[in-house]
């Protein structure tokens, strides 16, 4: 799973810890999602989308779609 989380976070000047606090998850969780090593649940994906006020598909996309 690819995501634009790192870019969106950087645009707002947030650290991984800042974003983790806003989403009520650990910093390690943010890192795992940003590096594409963990696919977030729909619940967490919706939470991320609400936080950035963007549609889910703008933030997350699967590998096949990108290729």
């Amino acid at each position: 799973m690819k995501s634009k989380l790192r870019v969106l976070r950087a645009e707002r000047g947030w650290s991984q810890a800042d974003l983790a606090e806003r989403l009520a998850v650990s910093r390690q969780a943010i890192n795992a999602i940003e590096t594409g090593k963990y696919t977030p649940s729909l619940q967490l994906a919706f939470k991320v989308a609400r936080l950035f006020a963007l549609p889910i598909e703008t933030i997350f996309s699967d590998e096949d779609e990108i290729r």
């Binding site: 650990s26 390690q28 969780a29 795992a32 590096t35 090593k37 963990y38 977030p40 649940s41």
Partner: protein
């Protein structure tokens, strides 16, 4: 801001401390008065204590984020599977080996001690592989 009481690490440490106090107290009583608690009551008590500890950890589990839960689930799978595999192997070995050879493996142990050691060995393997599985899972997500 997370208070000490609401922090999962403190909850876990507190539970460990309470378990240690109860365990050492009951163990001390048992040593002084070996027949104080009947075996069946001790077994039921120990099982109940484990179940209570599991119930006490529910808040910790609920507070955990989904990534941390996934790590524990993966570790649980590998730890549980490894423990079951070893227990299965030991059970097959114990049913096929001659009593004399089995007794020679644990010369200084009573039957009770050998049986308990087998069970504890399975638990320790579960815990050890759980720890390895948990660590590997997190390292793979870095």
């Amino acid at each position: 801001m997370t208070t000490r009481a609401a922090n999962p690490a403190w909850l876990f440490a507190g539970l460990l401390a309470v378990s240690a106090v109860i365990g050492s107290t009951v163990g001390g009583l048992e040593r002084q008065h070996p027949a104080l608690i009947p075996p069946a009551a001790a077994a039921v008590g120990a099982t109940a204590a484990c179940l209570l500890a599991c119930a006490a950890l529910i808040p910790l589990w609920r507070r955990m984020d989904e990534v941390a839960r996934a790590a524990h689930q993966s570790a649980w799978y590998w730890g549980g599977s490894a423990g079951s595999a070893v227990a299965g192997g030991l059970a097959v070995y114990a049913t096929r080996e001659t009593p004399a050879h089995l007794a020679a493996l644990v010369p200084t142990m009573t039957v009770n001690g050998a049986f308990a050691a087998g069970v504890v060995a399975c638990l320790l393997i579960q815990i050890a592989v759980y720890g390895v599985g948990w660590t590997v899972w997190w390292l793979s997500k870095r």
